[in-house]
């Protein structure tokens, strides 16, 4: 069984290069689904998000989630990259790529990983505000907890 490629890093990533790595020479892959999560400015109120993470467990938890996706659907290959550190509006935070013979497995696999990553991978976002005030830690959303339920 394929293992997902999982990276947790502070540097930005090149989604196109990662897709090429998963598809080059794979002539039986017909579908590539890519999710990219970007930092929002929340109506220009934020200068950045600061992402704290739990080194070791962050990688392990993403690996568990993506390997579970590979077990559940006929996925050819998967890459997940999650950044930490200070990230500015418009910058990339997270990348999930799932490739498969057909589109359904690629769509399901990528979405499953995002749904579980949101609530299970140990990352926390703190806001840096444009008005100079001390930023808050972003609250977890109930909708993210609910999103996991669709996979039961």
């Amino acid at each position: 069984m394929t293992k997902a490629k999982v990276i947790v890093q502070s540097d930005d990533f090149d989604a196109a290069a990662e897709i090429r790595q998963l598809t080059e020479g794979k002539y039986d892959t017909g579908a590539v689904v890519t999710f990219t999560g970007l930092c929002r400015s929340e109506g220009d109120s934020l200068t950045a998000l600061e992402l704290e993470h739990y080194p070791g467990m962050a990688e392990a938890e993403i690996q568990r989630t993506s390997d579970e996706a590979i077990k559940r659907w006929p996925i050819d290959a998967m890459t997940v990259i999650h950044r930490f550190g200070v990230i500015q509006p418009g910058e990339q935070i997270v990348l999930v790529i799932a490739t498969s013979r057909h589109r359904d497995a690629a769509f399901d696999g990528a979405r499953y990983v995002m749904d579980f990553l949101k609530t299970n991978a140990p990352f926390w976002k703190k806001e840096h505000r444009t008005d100079g005030q001390a930023g808050d830690w972003v609250d977890a959303k109930e909708s993210d907890e609910a999103a996991k339920k669709r996979w039961q």
């Binding site: 992402l51 704290e52 739990y54 392990a60 999650h82 949101k118 609530t119 299970n120 140990p122 926390w124």
Partner: protein
């Protein structure tokens, strides 16, 4: 082990880290602390900072050796425990 205490590394993240005033420490947990929930309860009683950080223990997430653990779960003898709020990555 003297006094029945087990030395263990505890990590704190996000606003729990800020409220307890440190990112990690090594402490001895009393042998009477058998579950994750009992550990949270015991930590809360240590001092004012811990009381504030763990005021609502039901929302605190705990990982034992980098795996999520329920509050009812037996603590066992992990090398590493982590306390953190609900996650907001992605």
């Amino acid at each position: 082990m003297a006094g029945g205490e087990n030395e263990v590394k505890i990590l704190y993240f996000s606003w729990i880290r800020e409220r307890v005033g440190m990112g990690e420490e090594t402490i001895g947990l009393p042998a009477s602390v058998e579950t994750v929930g009992q550990m949270l309860n015991w930590l809360q009683g240590r001092n004012e900072q811990f009381a504030a950080a763990l005021e609502f223990p039901e929302i605190i997430r705990v990982a034992l050796d980098q795996e999520h653990a329920d509050h009812g779960q037996s603590l066992g003898s992990p090398r590493e425990i982590a306390l953190f709020p609900p996650m907001t990555g992605g």
